[in-house]
Amino acid sequence: MASVKKIVQMMERVKDGPACTTADWDYKIVPGTVREMLKKYDLAKTYNPETPVNQDMELADRFFEAGLELAATIGLHCTDTETQIIFSKEEILEALRDAPSELVLGVGKDRRILKSRGVEDKVEPLYCTSLSIQIDEELYIPLVQGLVGRPNIDILQGPSIDTVFGIPAFADSPFETAAGLREAKLRAEALWRAGRPDMPQMCLSSSTTHFAFLSGYPMIHRPENPAIGIALQPAELKTNYSNFHKVLMVAGYGGILRSGVTSMIGGYSGPQEGTVIANIASDILQFALLGADISNSSMYDVRKNSACCRNALWAMSMSVQATSRNTHTILDKIINQSAGPCTKDILYTNMAGLVTTGVSGMELTTGPRSAGGAKRNHITPLEAYFSADVFKASAKLSLEEANELVLYGLTKYEDTVDNQPAGKSFYDCYDIDTLQPSDEWKRMDDEVREDLRNRGLSI
């Protein structure tokens, strides 16, 4: 993690960078330069639908070179100052060398080592649950207690609340500040009840802007168990002042910084090949700009609202392989999909996404993003346990085996990937008192696990 001094110096560099309007950045600079890179490195139309898990390592290395050149050519754009932050290639490479290859998280029985991985790495990756899905405030403690109820859940991010003592937590207001304080208290209570008060934590989920983060982070961070601060950039290859608030907080407290943003296939960087280049650049620029410890630059197809459609799986595998083979950095990409709890769709789509990224060398993932994160209370512990088991089992697979599994998974959901069933809420498929899934939901989980075991996945 960079020092406060370095961050402040970077902020000055952001403020005084060359002027560039956001419109020029979005319509000209990003798409134009990505197109140049696609041409220069002969990467256009390299997407192979038969290998959603890429098998061509020379191609992955070429993508990395293109991503590195994109990063060193255009850098990042700040939406508040409407400036560009340019980095030299040497500067970026130095930042990548300085990035941590190993992080020690948590205390005692919940201590975990988050270690850099490579393609087909046999070291198991770590699983953080869940994404910041909105839930009812009164559900927070039982749900989180359930989510961390198994040791295969390594890190807690947890859901988000949008009320404080029943009062709406208006974003960008003191109500949001109160939500940060409230979430921190609820977290501590839930972890204590689960018997895991010292487990690693990533925070803060209820932070729509920076206010909840500023209030809640200091309550969760401890010097002996540094909290992982979530600092989401506003968009691909962009930064803003709101994010710097969070970054400064993490730097000042000596925490661990996880920074990044989602790259969208079909968005500003164009087709899947262009998005891979921009995603690689996004990942490596988190280290150059902020001295991040973990980059969290995910990907999905904006047309299908999914990371688990075939082309997005290919893009994720390519991006992770490229960065894993050429750096020792720690990556966390999220599996975006829209199926919800109590459906087999969520299990098969998460399997495809997690096998793809796990075998490609990713160190950490945060999920699940049940029901696309858009349905209130649509998250349960069962899909988190399933996802953690699958992600860890990916360490036992070869690229070829992973590809076969993913192709099989696609047969289960590909036709409906852009309109998956939202499933049931925590209330409707879990017993909140015993924290056990309904028979229906448990049976689905058992059947999919058996199906995947029969196809070679060790879960």
């Binding site: 979005d26 909105q134 079909g266 904006v302």
Partner: protein
């Protein structure tokens, strides 16, 4: 004349605002009605762009530039449309609610509405209730569109409607809502005029709230 429409369609498709205005000017000089230039040239170009987007031949920047070119052409044609006794589909101010910085969905909606002939004032992201009202007044809007990807920002949708009632201007504008966590029930609870799930559906929604006498919120999902 079909050559002019074809060139105009291509200028929009290419996102070339300057050329689109130049071609529209030559059309007006030749006596072509503004709505013919819009329908046969501009809309055709944007529809082709939409198809190309779905088929991975065009991407968000091209879509946005096409929308900008269409807007430039509409701005040029507006004075002539009054003479021609034509009118745009309506004026809408759109943005994301305070605290919400997500712009891609918003930009898709704004582009789709422009394609359909609305005059779109895209306020961008993180817009306060006061700004929505001020911009609606300033632009003599028919519709206010407020989206949010997070429930903590969605609360401002309700605040906007409350504020409009307090100021006695609720009946002056239709208010439509959208965004990932927004539901039909929320739309009805806060007293909005309508909700659509996708950018394409938002066009149908806005057209209908402009023309139909609705006794309750119109939900399109």
């Amino acid at each position: 004349m079909s050559e002019l429409f074809k060139d105009l369609s291509q200028a929009i498709y290419d996102g070339d605002a300057e050329k689109a205005v130049e071609l529209a000017k030559s059309g007006i000089d030749a006596g072509v009605k503004p709505n013919e230039l819009i329908d046969n040239g501009g809309v055709d170009g944007l529809e082709r762009l939409g198809t190309a987007f779905n088929e991975m031949e065009a991407f968000l920047p091209e879509l946005m530039l096409g929308g900008e070119a269409m807007k430039a052409m509409l701005d040029y044609l507006m004075p002539f449309m009054a003479k021609d006794d034509s009118s745009s589909a309506g004026t809408i101010v759109v943005g994301t609610a305070q605290g919400d910085l997500h712009d891609i969905g918003l930009n898709l909606v704004a582009t789709q509405l422009a394609v359909a002939g609305f005059k779109v004032v895209n306020l961008g992201t993180d817009i306060t209730v006061k700004e929505y009202i001020a911009e609606a007044k300033k632009n003599d809007a028919d519709i206010i569109g407020i989206s949010s990807l997070m429930t903590s920002s969605a609360y401002y949708q309700e605040e906007l409607l409350k504020r409009m009632i307090q100021e006695g201007i609720r009946d002056n504008y239709k208010v439509v809502v959208g965004g990932g966590p927004i539901t039909p029930q929320w739309t009805k609870d806060i007293g909005a005029d309508g909700y659509a799930r996708t950018a394409v559906q938002a066009v149908d929604l806005c057209k209908r709230v402009m023309t139909e006498d609705l006794s309750e919120a119109l939900i399109i999902e």
